[in-house]
């Protein structure tokens, strides 16, 4: 598998991933908590409920997303630097470390379970991505020759 040239090179892409994941979390959190706050408020206070839910929860969701994405990117870059190759295992290993690092305050069992869960999740993502890549890959186009070839062969 070749290197991904659509993304920036390694140490600096961590910032990009932090920001991207944070933005994704905040914008998604605005939609999600906006709807949730709207539906869970009494009539007459629905707009206020939506806005206060967004204000209270969307940044937190963004922060969680951002920390996850940034940690994952950091570990991904570290694993790339150590293994000196780019394949699907990088993501799985990075996911293992990310899950472990985020759960490290919950004790040894929690850390282990969370790391394994995260690695499995990333493995599934990578597998699905590869399947899509293979399913939508362009088949190699056969060159069209002029018709003289047929006459020569016959």
């Amino acid at each position: 598998m070749s290197a991904d040239h659509a993304r920036d090179p390694c140490p600096i892409v961590i910032l990009n991933d932090f920001g991207g994941a944070f933005a994704m979390g905040v914008i998604g959190g605005c939609v999600w908590h906006g709807i949730k706050g709207f539906r869970n408020s009494p009539y007459g206070e629905r707009r206020y409920g939506a806005i206060s839910a967004i204000k209270a929860r969307a940044p937190v969701l963004g922060g969680n997303f951002g920390v996850w994405g940034g940690l994952f990117s950091t570990f991904d870059c570290s694993v790339k630097a150590v293994r000196k190759r780019e394949d699907a295992w990088n993501a799985v290993i990075a996911g293992f470390f990310t899950g472990g690092a985020l759960a490290i305050r919950g004790g040894w069992r929690h850390t282990r379970n969370s790391a394994i869960t995260c690695a499995c999740l990333l493995g599934v993502f990578e597998g699905v991505g590869m399947m899509f890549l293979r399913a939508f890959a362009q088949p190699p186009v056969q060159p069209i020759y002029a018709e003289e070839g047929a006459q020569l062969a016959a």
């Binding site: 920001g19 933005a23 905040v26 963004g62």
Partner: protein
Amino acid sequence: MSWLFGGNKQTTKEEDLKQTLGFDPAQVSDVSSIINSPGVFDASRLHPLAGLDKGVEYLDLKDEQLNDIEGSKGLIPSRSWTDDLCYGTGAVYLLGLGLGGAYGFQEGVKNLPKNAPPRLQLNTILNHMTKRGPFLGNSAGVLALTYNMIDSSLDYFRGVHDDFNSLGAGAIAGALFRSSAGLRPMAYSTALMTGAAGAWCGVKHLLK
């Protein structure tokens, strides 16, 4: 039978070759002599058009599709507004997280329980850090996100990327951030964010 007893015939062959070619082919370079000669791997002695003396260009982006709005050549080459958004938000978020974490750290050190086991002390410090760090980081990140989105929109509408956009975006972002807290906090945060945007513009001019 030359394939079996070719030994003495080879010398005559080589001499023949030497005579016909005018030089000894055994003395001419093979691969190892090329590799071992000094200075072959010197990039400056390779073909000049290979451009190897410039080093590896880490920030060459794919197809060089850089942002073509006037004045948008910033500190980091950026392809589009999403790059600005991600880098700006990520940097400010990390900065806020780090600053808040440091503040929480010193707060935790100050509030350490007396005669507590080290595990409890560590927990106190971590609790203070995780209380302060994410809060400051999230607020700063949301501010930066709003700022960058408004800034890119202003770039798009005006067609120029300059300091006025930045100041305006800072003012709007600051006003939006505290818009539900009343007029006075809104004015404060507007002024603060405008000042921060101005400071960022100054830093950009210094670094460029």
